[in-house]
């Protein structure tokens, strides 16, 4: 083998190497925006399904969206941040219960709201990444208005998950933190879980009534 051949061969080896490694990297390293876009596109696809508006389709959609939520939301991180410092003093068992109740509340209220989707477009404006944290700034363009919706994401096991949504400057996590703080100030973790469950029950009752 002469020198030229050797160089060509090694270049080919490098190229092969790169080609083989690329897909693996791409899967492992989806950027925050890509992850978010995948989730948003999936939700829109589900919502655009004509069966959404039938009475029968309603429950199915909610189930579909709910099972999808775990791929894109870090509910534990979200709950932890919504509680703030008192989280550190909560027993693990109650933390788990709180995450479950809070998730149920978020599902009931927010899944109901996104079903009012009316062909809004999402414009991805900017992405910022630092270590295991990221923030994606987007605009939701409705018929006559533009809303700013920003997402905060955290990387867990090589995948990005949303842990806060900031709509028009109102952070979901911080809004709940101000509520949770009030309740935890007057009561305790069990009391907070009770309050959340009460609200969930009220929402479920209202839902059954309207159907």
């Amino acid at each position: 083998m002469n020198r030229k051949n050797r160089v060509q061969c090694s270049l080919a080896a490098i190229a092969l190497c790169a080609v083989l490694l690329l897909p693996a990297l791409a899967v492992a390293e989806m950027t925050p925006t890509e992850t978010l876009k995948e989730g948003v596109d999936k939700i829109i696809a589900i919502l655009k399904d004509p069966s959404v508006n039938t009475d029968d389709g309603k429950d199915k959609i909610i189930q579909k969206l709910s099972s999808m939520a775990d791929d894109y939301f870090a509910f534990e991180q979200l709950t932890m941040r919504a509680v703030g410092r008192p989280w550190l003093k909560m027993p693990a068992e109650l933390q788990e219960k709180l995450v479950a109740s809070f998730r149920k509340l978020l599902e009931l209220t927010y899944l109901k709201q996104i079903r009012q989707y009316d062909d809004e477009k999402v414009v991805y404006k900017r992405e910022m990444v630092k270590g295991s944290k990221a923030m994606v700034l987007t605009d939701v363009v409705a018929k006559d208005k533009v809303f700013s919706v920003n997402y905060k994401l955290v990387k867990l096991d090589g995948r990005w998950y949303v842990y806060d949504i900031i709509g028009e400057g109102i952070s979901l996590v911080k809004n709940y933190r101000s509520q949770f703080n009030e309740i935890l100030h007057d009561s305790d973790t069990a009391g907070l879980i009770d309050r959340i469950n009460e609200r969930v029950a009220a929402l479920e009752a209202a839902q059954n009534k309207s159907e």
Binding site: C17, R81, L106, Q113, K133, M135, N150, G169, S171, Q179
Partner: protein
């Protein structure tokens, strides 16, 4: 041959290294975050990098009059569900959406002095000019403001909207919102925005209708008409919250802070 294997091995190591290093860093971060996750924010909610403690958004709200505020919040809540919402729904049932839109445009056009003063106090002369030309066009060709001819039209170059008021101007001057306040019927406010309201009262044309009860009636009518376009907004906050009072307070203060920043 050995050379190629060496090269391949080298590249594999080089290419995979950043991934594993990043994963390690992530795990480490997570451990630290767990201990101090309240202060681990890198960006503000609007996406600016937090460089020091001064830059950090104020988490604690000032609400020394919580007893008074909570009382009026309850009253307003009952008024909304018991009086204003049914009234708006009944009115919307009788009057179709288009005429209600005209009425909304008319009163919005009439509030031009408030927006103009809000813009001027902040030195936003371009927005002030924009508001002025909008006012002139809508008041004349737009038939006294019933039609909004400028809606959805693009400007030659981007000019920020003139949706300003006096409270926002005070905020732009560096004044904080001060203690949160809930007023009967009027709803959530802050000390700063209350002072703004008072100023706005005097530059709102409908204030000068005589006698005073016609002025009040006109303002109430404008409010109910506007409400028909906003039904469901308040409900969605209340529905999703475990402490509606705290949820509304946070939402009000954050929205105002965002408007001041714009």
């Amino acid at each position: 041959m050995r050379l190629y294997i060496a090269i391949i091995a080298f590249f594999m190591v080089v290419l995979s290294a950043p991934v594993s290093v990043m994963a390690d860093a992530g795990q480490q971060d997570a451990a630290i975050q767990l201990a101090q996750f309240e202060d681990d924010e890198i960006w503000t909610d609007s996406g600016e990098l937090i460089t020091d403690d001064l830059n950090r958004q104020q988490v604690k709200v000032s609400d020394p009059l919580e007893g008074w505020n909570r009382f009026w919040f309850q009253v307003n809540d009952a008024l909304y569900f018991g009086v204003f919402k049914p009234l708006a729904q009944g009115y919307a049932f009788v009057i179709p959406e288009r005429p209600r839109g005209w009425v909304k445009n008319f009163f919005e056009n009439l509030m031009y002095p408030v927006r103009l003063v809000g813009c001027l106090l902040q030195g936003k002369f371009e927005s002030a000019g924009m508001e002025t030309s909008k006012f002139i066009i809508n008041s004349t060709i737009g038939l006294a403001g019933f039609a909004d001819l400028t809606e959805g039209r693009k400007t030659v170059r981007p000019i920020p909207t003139g949706d300003e008021d006096i409270g926002q101007a005070f905020g732009a001057w560096g004044m904080g919102p001060g203690p949160y306040l809930v007023w009967p019927v009027l709803g959530p406010s802050s000390t700063r925005d209350t002072v703004g309201y008072v100023g706005e009262y005097f530059i709102t044309p409908t204030t000068y209708i005589h006698p005073w009860y016609w002025s009040v009636a006109t303002k109430s009518y404008a409010r109910i008409n506007k409400l028909t376009f906003e039904i469901g907004r308040y409900e969605s906050i209340v529905d999703s919250s475990v402490d509606p009072y705290a949820a509304v307070r946070d939402a009000y203060l954050k929205l105002r802070a965002k408007k001041v920043a714009e």
